[in-house]
């Protein structure tokens, strides 16, 4: 809300500088960021770090004949589905009742590619948060790690502003890191701001990040599980 107020003032005073980012475009952007964040950003890391690793609840998962990675995914999925349904309701409310213009892609090929961007964004978010949670094997108290991640996500995830309005150095760093591929690119993709070529490039980057993060996950899991100990009767 504060960022939106800031942008409204800045655009009113220096509208010509921002090109396509008019007052209504920036309002739509922040609204879509808020909506997309609600169902694309997974919140499994605190559960993994505090309940499973710190408090020792991981034991019960280790005794089950299922992969920890899959079980946690199944635990998280219903929350995201519910949030997603609520997000659709919110979207429809702002689009048709409040009347805020929220442009979305409508050509079949774009819809298909954008759907892929969303699915991969969710997958990256999940694996990334699992990796983050597993760092608790080494840190014991997890709050510091969590704060670092929040900072990086805010700055490089397009939460502060659309990446195209960033200074070029920041924008380039953000395009290399995984954070923008979780919320920013899905939002600009659904708004129709990416060409087919750019959509394919985003999909490629998302697949690459997914593979890297899953590799890191396996590495941390295999090493961390050897450090884990729990007590009980």
């Amino acid at each position: 809300m504060l960022l939106l107020l800031f942008w409204q003032g800045a655009i009113r005073e220096h509208g010509e500088v921002y090109g396509v980012w008019t007052s209504s475009a920036i309002t739509s952007y922040y609204l879509l960021i808020a909506i997309a964040s609600s169902f694309l950003i997974v919140h499994i890391e605190e559960d993994v770090a505090f309940r499973d690793i710190k408090d020792g609840a991981l034991v019960k998962y280790l005794l089950r004949p299922f992969s920890y990675f899959i079980v946690k995914f199944m635990e998280e999925l219903p929350w995201r589905v519910i949030q997603g349904l609520l997000a659709i309701v919110v979207f429809l409310f702002f689009r048709f009742i409040v009347g805020i213009p929220l442009p979305i892609v409508h050509r079949p090929l774009e819809i298909l590619l954008v759907s892929g961007v969303f699915v991969l964004a969710f997958a990256i978010s999940y694996v990334f948060k699992m990796v983050l949670g597993l760092t608790a094997f080494w840190t014991t108290d997890f709050w510091g790690t969590l704060s670092i991640e929040e900072f990086l996500f805010s700055v490089f995830g397009g939460i502060i502003a659309p990446l195209v309005l960033y200074p070029s150095v920041f924008a380039r760093i953000a395009q290399v890191l995984p954070f923008a591929y979780i919320v920013y690119f899905p939002v600009v993709a659904v708004e129709g701001m990416l060409s087919i070529y750019e959509l394919l490039r985003v999909l490629g980057a998302q697949v690459a990040w997914l593979i890297i993060l899953y590799g890191v996950y396996l590495l941390l899991w295999n090493r961390g599980i050897k450090k884990f100990s729990s007590v009980g009767q």
């Binding site: 504060l2 107020l5 220096h14 080494w138 510091g144 704060s147 900072f151």
Partner: protein, 262 residues
């Protein structure tokens, strides 16, 4: 007074020991605190990367406001905010008795128990950044400005403390509202931006936001050599009124407190 200084000295030692208990955690917290010190400045850097001024504030003035916010919020998180979060929790779980039974002032034990030394990093980084931006603007800072700056920060802390205490005291009447702390954390960020920005919202909302704009702007105005006696009086007045109000609300609310077992 001597008793309270002794108690506070003991609390300082205990909190320090708790902080260094986990080494890796200590360093990740330190690093994240350093990042967050720069966060507000980076935000303004990104927001103003293509424009020279917004709301009548130049880019460097906005950056100075952001770095002063780091100093201010560093102090606030170090000595106050965590206590408030704990207070809301104690009320919710009906454990406030433990604080009330101590042979010291209940407001002191409820709101000054935790000291988060890590937030000191924000103060240091914020001061260094402020100094840098002042140099960039060719603004000197003398003894008078330093004294006024410290006073303005103290007044801001007093105002924010009073607002938080008043709101959290009211949760005694309805403990389920204990998550109001999250809301307060977000609302406290209002001070990061110029007061002129909030004139875009409706008069009703602007009136609610006014006290929050007093917490930060005076300290920045001091550094910009743009601080008048009238502004000082306004800040002192707001601080005095809110302090008295907060103390009264706390005392009145406590009369209605019932623990989990009563």
């Amino acid at each position: 007074m001597k008793k309270y200084l002794f108690v506070y000295k003991t609390l300082l030692l205990l909190n320090w020991e708790a902080l260094v208990e986990y080494r890796t955690s200590f360093f990740t917290k330190l690093f994240s605190s350093m990042l967050y010190s720069a966060y507000h400045v980076i935000t303004i850097l990104l927001l103003t990367s293509t424009v020279p001024s917004v709301f009548g504030w130049s880019r460097y003035e906005l950056l100075l406001l952001a770095s002063t916010y780091s100093v201010f919020i560093g102090f606030y998180h170090m000595i106050i905010s965590q206590n408030m979060a704990r207070l809301a929790e104690e009320i919710y779980f009906g454990r406030l008795d433990f604080l009330l039974l101590k042979p010291i002032d209940s407001q002191f034990s409820a709101t000054f128990w935790i000291i988060d030394f890590i937030s000191g990093t924000r103060i240091v980084v914020g001061l260094l950044l402020s100094w840098y931006f002042l140099q960039a603007m060719h603004l000197g800072v003398g003894f008078t400005e330093v004294v006024l700056y410290i006073s303005a920060i103290a007044l801001g802390l007093c105002i924010l403390y009073s607002i938080w205490l008043s709101v959290i005291s009211l949760t005694i009447f309805n403990p389920r509202l204990s998550n109001v702390v999250d809301l307060l954390f977000h609302i406290s960020e209002i001070g990061r931006y110029p007061r002129e920005m909030y004139k875009q919202v409706s008069v009703f909302i602007f009136a609610i936001l006014i006290p929050f704009t007093f917490i930060m702007i005076p300290a920045t105005r001091v550094l910009l050599h743009d601080f008048s006696a009238r502004q000082a009086l306004e800040a002192v007045g707001v601080c005095a009124v809110l302090s008295i109000l907060a103390r009264s609300i706390w005392k009145i609310s406590l009369r209605s407190y019932t623990s989990a077992s009563s």
